[in-house]
Symmetry: C2
Subunit: 176 residues, 2 copies
C-alpha cells in the first residue's frame, strides 16, 4: 500500500525558492497558479447561472466555470465547463475579464458567450437558470469573481470591442 507523500519545504537544486519536496520519493511539487475558465452566457437578455451542488460554497449561485485542463484551449475549456455544469452549448465571444486571486493562486478568465441550447443541471449543480439582471440572486453568489464578471458583462454589453477588465483581488496581494 502506498503511504502517501511526506512533504518538506526545501530549495531544489537550480531553483531560488523553497518548494514542497517529498521525503519518501524526492518528488518536487512545483505548484503553479491554476487557471479557471468561465462564461457569462446570455440569451434573450438573461444570463445562465448554476446553483452549486459541491463544496466550496455548495448551495450558492455561480457562473459556469472551472479548471482549465491540460492541452485545452481557453474557449474549449469554458464550453466544456458549461456542458458539465449546465448541459449547455455555448457560442464563445470576447474575453470579458481576467481576475487574479493571489491568496489562492488562481487566474480566472471569463468570456462573453451566447447560449444556443436547452439547459439542465449537471452533476455539480443543484439547479440552473436564466436570470434577468434584476433577478440575479445577488445575496447568494458563490464567489466575488461572479459579481465582477456580471458587472463587467453589463458594463460592456452594448460594445462590440472593448478592453477586458484586469482585476486583482486587492486584499490578497503579497508584497511585490
Amino acid at each position: 500500500m502506498a503511504t502517501g507523500p511526506s512533504f518538506t519545504r526545501a530549495v531544489p537544486d537550480g531553483d531560488n525558492r523553497p518548494r514542497r519536496v517529498c521525503d519518501r520519493c524526492g518528488f518536487v511539487d512545483y505548484v503553479n497558479p491554476r487557471i479557471i475558465v468561465g462564461s457569462v452566457a446570455e440569451r434573450d437578455g438573461k444570463v445562465l447561472m448554476c446553483r452549486r451542488a459541491i463544496e466550496p460554497r455548495s448551495g450558492f449561485w455561480t457562473l459556469p466555470a472551472g479548471f482549465l485542463e491540460e492541452h485545452e484551449d481557453l474557449a474549449a475549456g469554458a464550453r466544456r465547463e458549461a456542458r458539465e455544469e449546465a448541459c449547455a452549448e455555448l457560442e464563445m465571444g470576447a474575453l470579458l475579464g481576467v481576475y487574479t486571486v493571489p491568496r489562492i493562486s488562481q487566474v480566472q478568465l471569463f468570456f462573453r458567450a451566447r447560449l444556443v441550447s436547452e439547459i439542465a443541471a449537471g452533476l455539480e449543480s443543484q439547479e440552473v437558470g436564466m436570470f434577468a439582471w434584476d433577478d440575479v440572486p445577488w445575496d447568494a453568489l458563490a464567489f466575488p469573481s461572479v459579481k465582477w464578471a456580471l458587472d463587467d458583462w453589463r458594463a460592456t454589453r452594448a460594445l462590440d470591442a472593448f478592453a477586458p477588465f484586469v482585476r486583482c483581488a486587492p486584499d490578497t496581494l503579497r508584497p511585490d
Copy 2:
C-alpha cells in the same frame, strides 16, 4: 535516500480523467496548465529584448517573460521577470494578448509596459538590448509567441484602449 517517484496513469477516486499517481507514495500529480507572464516594454520607440542563456532556445531572442509564481499578481510577475532577465524596472500597461499553446499546456499573458530604468543581462540572459522595429532579430526569435506579442504591440501601439488578442497555437489543439 529518496528513490524518485514512480508514476502510473490512473483515474483517482472522485475524478473523471486519468492522472499521474505515484506507486510509491500515492501522490496524485494534478498537472495544471502553466501561466507565463511577459511584457513588451518600450522606451523611445524601441522594445526590450533578451538573448536567452538557458534552454530551451538558448542563444535566441525573447521578450522578458516567465512562469507566474504562487500568490503573485499578473503584473507583479511580469515586472519580476523583467528584473530577473534584464535588470529592468517596468511600468505596466494594458493587457496586450492572451496566447494559449495547448501542446505544452501554457497560457501566456503579455502586457504593454514602459521601461523606466537602465538594463543589463540577468542570469538567464546572454545579453539584452533595445530594438527599433526594423532591427528586431526576426530570424532568431526564441518562440512563436514572441512574434505574436511584437505584432500585437505594433498593431495597437497608437491605441489607448483595445481588445487584447486572444490567440491559440492552431496546430496544437486537441479535439473539443
